[in-house]
């Protein structure tokens, strides 16, 4: 099995576990802590976009961070 196939299988297993875990729903009135600013799962959009573009221009690897954004002739 190639590393790519292993990554896909690993992600599928984690997603399945998450879906199962999702059955134990945290009730809305229990989400006070999750609503704190430090618990924002998404970092500020501009900062994230610029950092990902820098990593993409200076590294040969990839990350699964969402779609969108055109290429550049970055050196």
């Amino acid at each position: 099995m190639t590393l790519a196939a292993r990554l896909i299988v690993l992600a599928a297993v984690v997603v399945a576990l998450l879906a199962t875990a999702g059955c134990a729903t945290v009730q809305p009135w229990e989400r006070g802590t999750l609503a704190k600013p430090v618990m924002a799962i998404e970092d500020p959009a501009h900062e994230t976009a610029q950092k990902l573009r820098t990593y993409g221009a200076k590294e040969g690897g990839a990350s699964a961070t969402g779609v969108g954004g055109g290429g550049c002739g970055c050196n």
Partner: protein, 378 residues
């Protein structure tokens, strides 16, 4: 069925109004506010190499309760020197040959988008353009999100298509085509009252001219050749993000791990750890570190003894290397509608941190970036 008390029903209704798993810190003015962001970024590399100044502005305009229009503009001003090839130096030690310090480019990019929220579903369509002297790009992306389990789970899928043209300063009108398609799927899950996890997977397929027109390779028996890479690239990446609030230190801890592989032979891994804390006076601070490692591409070599038969490149980004960096930031909410954010990152690239393959020490360098963002919500 058991009856729900009016008090519990009211509490539930109020709690349901809390943001879901994709909560944003600056969205306080309302569920669907007007928004304007402006960012300035300074990027620089050690050794007199590249300097980049970025100005970015974006706006979000709500239309009714369910629709939003988005616009984004970016300008990059790039200058400095960039590595071209490696050559044997005095004493047999390999040395790096750079462009002159006069490389200059001005990139302008923008995108517009429309976002619709219907019940637990969200759909975002974006169209973007980018243009610089030797590179142009036109791209389209479509993303969908759906909340499940009373917003405990968010499923996201996305597709993007990018049609790029690559030329060089020597032949600015001779564009080569490069096409890229990205497929993305992710799940964000509330684990418990104090933690969240997001798992995502992305597959990218690129074809066309994937070489760098400015890079050369040094062949000891015959001299210089142009960089030549395979005309197809398939990349697969998985990323896991875990965020937990720790009452003992009144802070949140975040870990992001990524793995990727591609058909060029590059395997990479990254781990980022961050500490985030709110301080009195509407301050939010964060600090952390990022480790990255990759193996070299199958066709990479710092130097070639004889003319290579197939793909060949000495691009330092396709070498085996790793990096370690630190990052920090601070956000101050000036008023309920305005906030300012300052962030910095400094990274040390080191061949000794590679996870396989080959690389050379002369490619090591340090880069840093600093950015300031002003954010308004109404």
């Amino acid at each position: 069925m058991a009856a729900i008390s009016p008090r519990l029903a009211a509490l539930t209704a109020a709690a349901m109004a809390l943001p879901a798993v994709h909560v944003r810190a600056a969205d306080a003015p309302g569920e669907n506010p007007w928004g304007v962001d402006a960012t300035h970024l300074e990027y620089s590399e050690s050794g007199g190499r590249m300097n980049v100044r970025v100005n970015q502005a974006s706006a979000v305009v709500p239309i009714g309760e369910s629709f939003r229009l988005k616009a984004n503009f970016i300008q990059d001003l790039m200058s400095g020197a960039s590595p071209v090839f490696n050559a044997p130096g005095p004493g047999g030690k390999t040395q790096q040959v750079l462009t002159g310090a006069s490389v200059f480019d001005n990139r302008k990019a923008g995108d517009i988008g429309a976002d619709a929220s219907i019940g637990d579903n969200q759909l975002l369509l974006r169209q973007g353009w980018s243009k610089e002297n030797d590179y142009k790009s036109t791209w389209t992306s479509l993303e969908g999100k759906r909340d499940f389990n009373r917003k405990s789970t968010t499923l996201a899928v996305g597709f993007a298509f990018s049609d790029d043209g690559v030329s060089s300063h020597d032949a600015p009108n001779d564009f080569h085509t490069r096409i890229k398609r990205d497929f993305f799927a992710g799940v964000t899950q509330i684990v418990d009252e104090r933690s969240l996890v997001a798992v995502s997977l992305e597959y990218s397929y690129s074809n066309g001219f994937l070489s760098d027109p400015y890079k050369l390779v040094f062949v000891q028996s015959s001299g210089l050749l142009r960089d030549a890479r395979p005309d197809q690239r398939r990349q697969t990446a998985a990323t896991v993000k875990y965020l937990a609030y720790v009452p003992a230190i009144d802070s949140a801890l975040q870990a992001i791990g990524s793995l990727s592989t591609d058909n060029w032979g590059i395997r990479s891994g990254a781990l980022e750890l961050q500490w985030k804390k709110e301080l009195p006076g509407e301050w939010l601070v964060n600090a952390g570190a990022r480790y990255y490692t990759q193996s070299s591409a199958d066709f990479y070599a710092p130097l070639y003894l004889s003319p290579p038969g197939g793909a060949h490149s000495s691009d330092y980004r396709l070498a085996g290397f790793g990096s370690i960096g630190w990052l920090a930031g601070v956000t101050q909410r000036l008023t309920p509608n305005f906030s300012v954010q300052i962030a910095a990152e400094r990274t040390y690239r080191r061949v000794g941190l590679r996870s396989g393959g080959t690389g050379i020490d002369v490619d090591n360098y340090i880069w840093g970036l600093y950015l300031v963002t002003l954010q308004a919500r109404f």
